[in-house]
Symmetry: C2
Subunit: 308 residues, 2 copies
């Protein structure tokens, strides 16, 4: 009998983190969740050990790692404030905190670390799906630069640190718990409130994946021996219009959609999708939730929230 793997999950009360606990538990892993806030009292699965720490203070890392003695690290925490995260200098603090955490994790005996990356690491504007190791890493934003720099440095240091390192590059995600200002949540919010929802023409091609599948992919990646960057997406290239229309259908208020009323954001690429061959064949993860089903579940969740 081998000792159970003890997983330290950061950002455990964040958008992806909340959905990651259940699939990690299902894999038989001992879970230690870190949050900068109070430990959640409801909705979180049992059998999770909660720890409160401000990861931006590197002085907190030692005590946390001593308390948990993790074999594995799933680092999802990062500055993610909608609207400002692309350009905020908070990204600088998270680079330092992330590198320091992985460094300390290795020094305290950790073996395998999986971190959340982003499609923003890739050069935008090339046609076709982004492919790990092929599509150039030329981020257009401070956020993307920060993520890519963190990945490059940790990948280069992994051998010295003696840790296996994998990096899940998240594309577009949506689902229960999303920040209300983000696209899917905001269109749902408007329609459920009986207000018009103004959107761009929706011709942008994207890869959208339900957050539970994103979280499931991270759990599968952690529970594999795959190293390096792995795209996390559905593998389906869809116009944003499909997402908007699915929200119209799920809410029954397609009449409130004003598609084309807004211009696309400057700098937004026409196409940003991913090849998911590594995720499917090497990690062995297949998404379970279709776009229509995922939007329906998300609308149901928002309805439920509104009724509380």
């Amino acid at each position: 009998m081998t000792a159970p793997r003890r997983v330290l999950v950061t950002g455990a009360s964040g958008f992806i983190g909340r959905h990651a606990l259940e699939p990690l538990l299902q894999r038989g892993l001992e879970l230690h969740a870190v949050t900068s806030r109070d430990a959640p009292t409801q909705q979180a699965p049992r059998d999770v050990h909660w720890h409160q720490a401000d990861l931006l203070d590197p002085g907190s890392h030692g005590a946390l790692l001593t308390a948990v003695a993790p074999t594995d690290l799933l680092h999802l925490a990062w500055y993610a404030e909608h609207g400002s995260f692309w350009t905020s200098t908070e990204n600088l603090r998270w680079i330092a905190a992330t590198i320091a955490l992985v460094h300390a994790f290795a020094e305290y005996g950790g073996r395998r670390a999986v971190l959340a990356g982003s499609c923003a690491e890739y050069r935008w504007g090339d046609p076709g799906p982004c492919l790990e190791g092929v599509t150039p890493l030329e981020p257009a934003t401070l956020y993307g630069t920060a993520k890519n720099a963190t990945r490059a440095v940790l990948a280069a240091a992994a051998g010295e640190l003696g840790v296996e390192l994998a990096w899940g590059r998240v594309f577009f995600l949506y689902g229960p718990g999303e920040a209300p200002g983000r696209l899917v949540a905001s269109v749902i919010g408007s329609l459920l409130a009986g207000e018009r929802a103004l959107t761009s023409d929706g011709r942008q091609i994207r890869d959208f994946l339900h957050v539970a599948d994103v979280a499931g992919a991270f759990a599968a990646l952690l529970d594999s021996r795959v190293t390096g960057a792995v795209n996390i997406g559905s593998g389906e290239a869809r116009p944003l219009r499909d997402v908007i229309d699915a929200i119209g259908a799920a809410t029954g208020r397609a009449d409130l959609l004003d598609v084309g009323a807004l211009s696309p954001r400057p700098g937004d690429p026409a196409e940003l999708v991913c090849d998911t061959t590594r995720l499917r064949t090497e990690v062995g993860f297949m998404p379970a939730i279709t776009l229509d089903d995922g939007i329906e579940r998300t609308v149901a969740w928002w309805r439920d929230q509104a009724g509380r």
Copy 2:
């Protein structure tokens, strides 16, 4: 009359830093030098204000910046232990410390920051000189990856931080004060001691620049409005053999040279030289010390050290 520019120089007691104080003073700048050691009591120019701080402790930055209130930052400090700096995880600590220092410098009102980069940021093995903005940035080492990541992140954040940022990419340097284990210092040391000096065949093509010229280039770069990466080198591509032979001539002990006795280090590129057009035309800096003259001065310095 404008207020004098107050320059915070880190790594001021390091190899380049010691040589940078005089040329900075000559430009009429008010100098505040940081060292992790005791302030030097000899050989350092007057009119330099010395501060002791451990930059690896971000908690030290605020007090230092409050005390100095610098308008300019020349950040030369980094882990540079000969032999181990290429792969040491100390590089991770210096990424975090450097990013935090520039962030804090900006928050305390700093305006212009110049940092030391490295030829190790470039992809090695391409023929011809490395050119800023053209030669791919694909570091082969943890050190090069760390420097390149730090540069990329700070360049992407410079606008948000409100600082002008320049990055001097140092190629190969030598001169008084070099660590004894490094090539030029070690060959000089052997020959002055009357011992055989074993070297590789010396066919590697390199750009060697005397440390006083490297330091002068940093002073000129700081005192310019140039931003982005600037190669710091002589612009002369020379076989390493020329350096070895110059040491033989300057010491009068060419008979002790055993050229070809060692194999080149694995991974060492056949050619690693730089285009210095930016340094010459935009920064306006021209090296003053030829290779033969620089080696002679260096040998004289080592003779002087041995005679103390």
